[in-house]
């Protein structure tokens, strides 16, 4: 084979490998599904499992948050769909909110999920048009979760009078 052709192939292979490495280090995929999902999201062809999402939404509205998250995870295995990640974060928020306490661990997981939603949304803006929710944007949900995580104590009787944004 001609020298120029071989060198051009070598350069193309090395360049694409280097690009893939930079991409992996910036996106930090955890599984192969996440890696392929993030890649397809990058080129705009990522699709979630709509049936699993509908199941998740049904569980979410019935306050079965753990089951809802399982279904949402099945729907969005690559964690690349902003709307699904928003609902996952919301499920942590609702489950973690108690009358006199907040579960900081659940709130922290919710914060991680809403961060994923914001990262995956175009220009970081996510708005979910759902009449059953009191918060529709990722920013509102993130602020609520951050307030809970940053609270000095999990048990606070004063939260009895605090408004819970269902």
């Amino acid at each position: 084979m001609r020298d120029d052709v071989v060198r051009a192939i070598g350069l193309a292979v090395a360049g694409s490998c280097f690009g893939a490495i930079v991409w992996v280090y910036s996106r930090q995929p955890q599984t192969l599904a996440e890696a392929s999902g993030a890649l397809s999201a990058t080129i705009g062809v990522y699709r979630i499992d709509e049936q699993a999402f509908a199941d998740g939404l049904r569980f979410f509205r019935a306050d079965q948050f753990a089951a809802a998250r399982l279904a949402f995870d099945r729907a969005d295995q690559a964690h690349q769909d902003p709307r699904t990640q928003f609902y996952i974060a919301y499920s942590y928020y609702r489950e973690g909110w108690g009358r006199v306490y907040v579960d900081k661990e659940l709130y922290a997981r919710g914060l991680a999920a809403v961060d994923r939603a914001i990262a995956a949304a175009p220009r970081g803006r996510i708005v979910v048009d759902d009449a059953d929710l009191q918060m529709h944007s990722g920013d509102e949900l993130k602020a609520e979760l951050e307030t809970g995580v940053q609270a000095s104590t999990e048990v606070n009787p004063l939260t009895v009078v605090r408004r819970h944004r269902k």
Binding site: D3, V6, G10, L11, A14, C17, I21, Q28, Q30
Partner: protein, 219 residues
């Protein structure tokens, strides 16, 4: 050095090191970006390798080569630098006092290697010893000290370091797989360094070329 080595094998070996150098296996897979200190250490090692002749960039990039050939030379150099950064990233501890001590230690050690400028074999051997000992320190000694379960090595070390608290030396424990990945990474890196184009030993050449006629006369 053959064309296949220059165009495919060296870049791919160094890219594999670049990918694996930051891999940490905990409850999830983490691709750790290199610290700035790793870049500084990589520059020093690269300089030492060039100075001793273990790596001859002039054989990969020179005016006699075509633009595409020079571009493949640049690729080897760039991937080698990235791999060196990641090799240091894999052996530098993640936090605390050990990180500071080891970065300073490596800095001084590499400066010394650079100043001594010994031959290729010595510098490659020295690099293997430096990276190997850092590997043992991080993935065996520090990992044992940071192990929450506490194995026999931790008990021995704690016995030897009686009175010392582990608050400043303990690292975030990683999965066992991290050490294996780091071992493979360092082995690949050292293998890559060994097949780099080296400087011709010009000092051993005759000062005056005898030419083909001289050989016929001798026969």
């Amino acid at each position: 050095m053959s064309r296949a080595v220059e165009v495919f094998w060296l870049p791919l070996v160094f890219l594999a090191v670049t990918l694996l150098g930051g891999v940490r296996i905990a409850d999830r897979l983490v691709f750790l970006r290199p610290p700035l200190s790793a870049l500084v250490l990589a520059v020093l090692l690269l300089a030492a390798l060039v100075r001793c002749g273990a790596f001859a960039p002039q054989r990969l990039m020179n005016p006699a080569r075509s633009a595409l050939q020079n571009l493949s030379g640049v690729t080897v150099l760039a991937t080698m630098f990235a791999a060196t950064v990641q090799a240091f990233n894999s052996v530098i501890p993640e936090s605390g006092l050990p990180r500071l001590i080891i970065v300073v230690f490596l800095f001084v050690l590499l400066l010394n290697t650079l100043a001594a400028s010994t031959d290729r074999t010595h510098v490659l051997r020295s690099t293997a010893v430096i990276l190997g000992s850092m590997f043992v320190l991080k993935y065996i000694v520090l990992a044992a000290l940071s192990d929450p379960a506490g194995g026999w090595l931790k008990r021995v070390l704690l016995g030897a370091l009686e009175g010392v608290t582990l608050g400043t030396v303990a690292q975030e424990p990683f999965g066992l797989g991290t050490g294996y990945v780091a071992f493979v990474t360092l082995a690949l890196f050292l293998g890559g360094l060994a097949i780099l184009p080296r400087r011709d030993s010009g000092s051993r050449r005759a000062l005056v070329d005898a030419g083909p006629g001289a050989l016929r006369e001798a026969q």
